[in-house]
Amino acid sequence: MSIEEQYRTRAKELLSGGAVKMVIGYGKGTTPSRRRPLFITSPDDVERLMLDDACITNLSGYLVSEGLLSDEKRVAVFLRPEGIRAVNILAAESQLDAEQIVIFGFDVSGNEVQALKGIHVEEFSDVIRSIKEGAPEADEEELFEKIEKMSPQERFSFWQEEFAKCIKCYACRQACPMCYCRRCIVDSNQPQWINTSSHSLGNFEWNIVRAFHLSGRCVECGNCDRACPVNIPLRLINHRMAEEVLGAFDHFAGMSKTQEPVLASFKKDDSETFIL
């Protein structure tokens, strides 16, 4: 039996028995290569669930939709390891109760889908640890290295050109499971921290502030990068911040549901290189 079939069967069992009220998974998209988020509440609909290498979107952001978990019922969700890390952070930041989340874990290597064993977030700690220790994917490394090698001026021009494309649609924010604030800093105007206009200054302010808000929190699922309609390589910024935080504080975002947020906790032996 394929993993897709196994998970359909499991979804059917959970929904019929009332163990979960909803399964958030993937369904058929507009084109053969597209999958779209799917919300299944009836056991009769589980056949619509799909699982293959095109299931890329990190669905964990839907878990913090207003009111979804407020009835304390359980919700099942298809997640890759990055999504599982995101659930850990959401739990650590008190945005959800991890007990309410039933995980249909999977990973993709090449175009092969593997099931990840476990139901609750804490059962995936080995998987997460192995990602922390594993090497970054080669193709990403290449562009990343290219930017690292640039002089500060070259790097500035590179990002200037990229941010010039930004139209402030906030798809990056809306697609990000970590951007759960009910009122984002860009929507606050007393004081107006960030210009709402999509001009060079406003675009820089927005993208840099977002990078800072995600440092030590980003799980590098790539939702922002894929959502961006003007294709700004946002993953590179977040990856750089993640490396920085890992180097400075040995903090890898989303290790466990009790992991303290790196910028909201203090250890005596924390690196203090920023204090001159």
Partner: protein
């Protein structure tokens, strides 16, 4: 016999238009994004795209536009209106859906109060449209009473010749004829075989959808919640849309000097309609998606007798969660059966 513009003459035309004082704008492929931008040479133009990622709207209604500058002194306030930089332009190689999008928005910007920012740019632009020879899964012009060679909003329609040799020239307006008079010596009179037009399948029953949308009972239908459940509430569909025209007005600067700007805004955002009291008429994402569809296919045509959609399909093509107008209208078509 018709007028023909051969591709190899285009660079000369660009040069001629430029020396006549026109800014030449067309589809270009930049790093990871295709858009319409000013060019110096024909070689920079990219005609192989189904359509650019960014719409032509940006050229008439930019994402952030200064409206006025203010300077405050002790006893007086000085303001200076910032009209768009003047100068005639030729947009060479627009797609029919993009060109018609501009014509769709004309009555809105001209309704009662005439928006000078829009009309100055409209009046200074010649739109030369190239009919489509290819389409993708998201194109839907034919479902909206348009076609890959619609002339709406265009000053010139170019029909591609077979073998990428050039274009057959259909002059549609005086403004178009005038722009092509300056390059008359580069045009040929002959008849050439045309490349086959793109095939865009009909995706939904527009009439049935409009009837369904107009029925007040359907305003409260469960359908809206179901169809928009996965909407993440970003503005990529509205900002890439050639006809979405909503905006915000924002002041930037300090107490003494600054700029009042008109910025794109979107019905997808909760803040768009939020009252000061905290009451929000459209407090859920489903209410906001319903507003977008109702606005395009019910309210807007009710006022201006035209749907506020030109069928470019960018909303669906770029949606991070694979939503869009096409799917919604397809589902409504099914409901109306």
């Amino acid at each position: 016999m018709t007028k023909i513009l051969f591709s190899d003459k285009l660079d000369k035309c660009v040069e001629r238009w430029k020396s006549a004082g026109l800014t030449v704008i067309g589809p270009v492929q930049r790093t990871n994004i295709s858009t319409y931008a000013a060019v110096d040479h024909a070689a920079e133009l990219e005609f192989g795209l189904v359509l650019p990622d960014r719409s032509i709207k940006d050229l008439f209604f930019p994402q952030s536009e200064p409206m006025l500058r203010y300077t405050i002194k002790k006893e007086s306030i000085n303001t200076e209106e910032c009209l768009p930089p003047a100068g005639p332009r030729i947009i060479f190689g627009a797609r029919p859906c993009d060109a018609s999008g501009m014509a769709i928005d004309d009555p809105l910007f001209g309704w009662d109060y005439k928006d000078e920012y829009w009309f100055q740019r409209r009046n200074e632009s010649v739109i030369v449209t190239i009919a489509c020879t290819k389409a993708d899964d998201f194109c839907m012009c034919t479902s909206l009473e348009m076609s890959p060679d619609s002339t709406k909003g265009s000053d010139i329609l170019l029909r591609p010749l077979a073998g990428n040799k050039g274009w057959q020239v259909d002059e549609l307006t005086d403004r178009g004829r005038e722009a092509f008079r300056t390059i008359a010596d580069f045009l040929h009179e002959s008849s050439e075989p045309l490349a086959p037009s793109a095939v865009v399948e009909n995706k939904f029953d527009l009439d049935a959808c409009v009837t369904w949308l107009k029925n007040p009972e359907n305003f409260e239908s469960r359908f809206w919640k179901e169809i928009s459940m996965r909407c993440i509430g970003c503005a990529s569909c509205t900002y890439l849309c050639p006809t979405c025209h909503c905006f915000d007005i924002q002041d930037e600067g300090d107490t003494y000097t600054g700029i009042r700007r008109k910025n794109w805004d979107s019905c997808s955002f909760a803040l768009f309609t939020m009252h000061t009291s905290g009451h929000n008429p459209r407090s859920t994402q489903s209410a906001r998606w319903r507003q977008r569809i109702m606005h395009k296919f019910n309210y807007f045509p009710g006022k201006f007798s035209v749907n506020s959609c030109s069928g470019c399909g960018r909303c669906s093509r770029q949606c991070p969660v694979d939503m869009g107008i096409t799917e919604t209208l397809q589902e409504i078509s099914k409901l109306s059966l």
